[in-house]
Amino acid sequence: MTAAAAQGPNAAELRADARRERLVLGALAAPGLLLIGVVALAPIAWLFWLSVRKGDSYTLEHYARLLHPSYAYSLQTTFELTFLVTAICALLGYPLAYMIAQARQRAAAILLLFVLFPVWTSLLVRCYAWLVLLQRRGLVNTWLADAGLIDLPLRLVHNFTGTTIGMVHIMLPFMVLPLYATMRAIDRDYVRAAANLGATPSQAFRHVYVPLSLPGLAAGIIIVFILCLGFYVTPALLGGGRVMTWSMQIERNVTYHSDWGAASALGVVLLAMALAIFWAVGRVIGFNRILGGR
């Protein structure tokens, strides 16, 4: 409230009306805020609470257990997988998004449909499909052998390689979509201006187009990275038990040991790391650029 309330005819009534309006608008926002509280904030708080409880007392025991080498090993696997998948997605997704962004309206719509189509198919189906394609006597190995490129079938699945291939396939749309949205919004006059000022096509691309597309790349990297950190189905199916990620450790703790405390502690640490990544990328690129601004 300002120190000196406005005086004059009708001032009190207008103030009261403004107050009523704020209350009404606040009330209209309440269901949304309540929903976010119930479905998003409360479970996280509960998760955190579980991770520091043992019986009826508070403990840091669950966190201390995470120092065990087996957790460190699976954490390393998780990060290796996440970094690799994110990097491959960026390398494949950038040219793909660029091509779609440069295409004519109609062609772009069709290409985008191809990118989105897998997202509408069941995740399980797609993982099993990769299993069929990549196995010892699968399509890929048969082709390569028939072409005379290999003598022995490649070990493409039930290992780190298979997990990586499957996850790249599943994550690629999440990289392409934000990149495409950003690239489509880049006014072509910027690149023209660069050319006009003397930049070769490759210079114009590097000096102007790439920097302007960075917010989309950052958004894609954050989404893929965070999704990868907690991904379960693909490593479980295509890893063949040889790829142990943190999400699988969580599942183990809950299903085999009914140890909610340890599982929760893993969840909390994973969440903290996801936030740290978001913060780190945000520091480099700027949060409002990632979240839609320029």
Partner: protein, 367 residues
């Protein structure tokens, strides 16, 4: 190709432009239809036309962003028809400025110099000079989005001339500014052109801007030049109804040619020269060329049109009024606010308007 190396080598020099037989179609739409024009070295030429007339397409062809279907473009002795944009060495101001949002003002201005391999200190010095020239000294560290519209305009202009191109292209550069700022910038652009002397092709749909700024105006419509000439010639000697309508305000009266004499609204017209031979001529009436005759003045030697005032619009510096002639035709006239001018009658009052023979212009009818 010599263009890239030559650009900027000679300070303050300029090149003539020769456009010959250029055509460009988009599907069935002919954006440019066999267009030819020579722009002299150092000339300020304006391409004036309504939207969709082809003026921007021609500019894009000159800049190298559009490949023409046919024809030839020469800058000086160099045939640049096939040269890519970055080898043409022409400066360009874009309609929306196209300032790089990820660079500050100095970064934007220094970019063309960086591409030309200039040293850091040389770039800094030239950026400072360019900022001085457009009266933005000290703003080199600003981000583009912290600038006002007028400042962005100046930065865009500075970026287009900092590498001393011998040809400058401008695509409706002032259309985003408000009226007052626009008029200020028109003078500014003229001043810079006089000082630097590069050949300039300026695109606009604003006829007033074209008249204000140009050495020559090329009026373009449906992909063809309709008339090319100095601003005074274009305004005072329109060659067709289209030009007379598009540039300035005009009323038209049908004219009958009888035995070498021109007749309009029941009176014989006194002309400056012989009556031209044309199919269905029209008399062009510019509102400000019509003078109200004081009561008792007979207007000897002038063409006099009599009628009744149908509408009066007070506009401050002048009064616009419409006069209905006995035949039913309506013409617009304008009287400057001046103590010496005879007072206008009210609506419905009789008025006599005089037009000097020198201002009595006939144009052929049609489009």
């Amino acid at each position: 190709m010599a263009m890239g190396d030559a650009a900027g080598a000679e300070r303050g020099s300029s090149l003539p432009i020769s456009i010959s037989g250029v055509g460009k179609s988009y599907g069935a739409f002919r954006a440019l239809d066999d267009v030819s024009l020579d722009v002299a070295s150092g000339e300020f030429l304006t391409l004036l036309g309504p939207s969709g007339s082809g003026k921007t397409t021609l500019l894009m062809v000159l800049a190298g962003f559009q490949r023409p279907d046919c024809g030839r473009i020469r800058f000086g002795d160099d045939d640049v028809t096939l040269a890519p944009p970055h080898r043409r060495g022409v400066g360009m101001v874009f309609q929306n400025y196209a300032l790089f949002p990820h660079m500050d003002v100095a970064g934007n201005l220094g970019y063309p110099l960086r591409l030309r391999g200039l040293g850091r200190s040389e770039i800094e010095a030239r950026v400072r000079r360019a900022l001085d020239m457009v009266q933005l000294a000290g703003l080199g560290g600003r981000q583009v989005d912290q600038l006002s519209g007028g400042q962005r305009q100046r930065v865009a202009l500075a970026r287009a001339i900092i590498f001393e191109p011998r040809i400058l292209l401008m695509d409706e550069p002032l259309s985003a500014l408000d009226k007052k700022l626009r008029e200020e910038m028109q003078i500014e652009v003229r001043r810079l052109h006089r000082r630097l002397g590069m050949t300039t092709v300026y695109v606009t749909h604003d006829q007033r801007e074209a008249l204000t700024m140009s050495d020559r105006v090329a009026v373009i419509d449906k992909g063809r030049f309709r008339q090319v000439g100095g601003p005074r010639e274009i305004y005072e000697r329109p060659g067709s109804r289209f030009i007379a309508e598009f540039i300035g305000e005009s009323s038209f009266l049908p004219v009958e040619l009888r035995g070498g004499e021109a007749w309009a609204a029941g009176a014989r017209l006194a002309l400056a020269g012989a009556a031209p031979a044309m199919a269905s001529p029209l008399l062009v009436l510019r509102p400000e060329k019509l003078r109200v005759l004081a009561p008792g003045e007979d207007g000897a030697g002038l063409n006099v049109l009599r009628g009744r005032v149908a509408e009066l619009v007070y506009q401050g510096e002048s009064t616009l009024f419409y006069v209905e002639l006995p035949g039913g035709a309506r013409i617009a006239a304008r009287q400057a606010a001046s103590a010496s001018a005879p007072s206008l009658p009210g609506i419905g009052g009789e008025v006599a308007l005089a037009l000097a023979p020198a201002d009595t212009i006939l144009v052929p009818d049609g489009a």
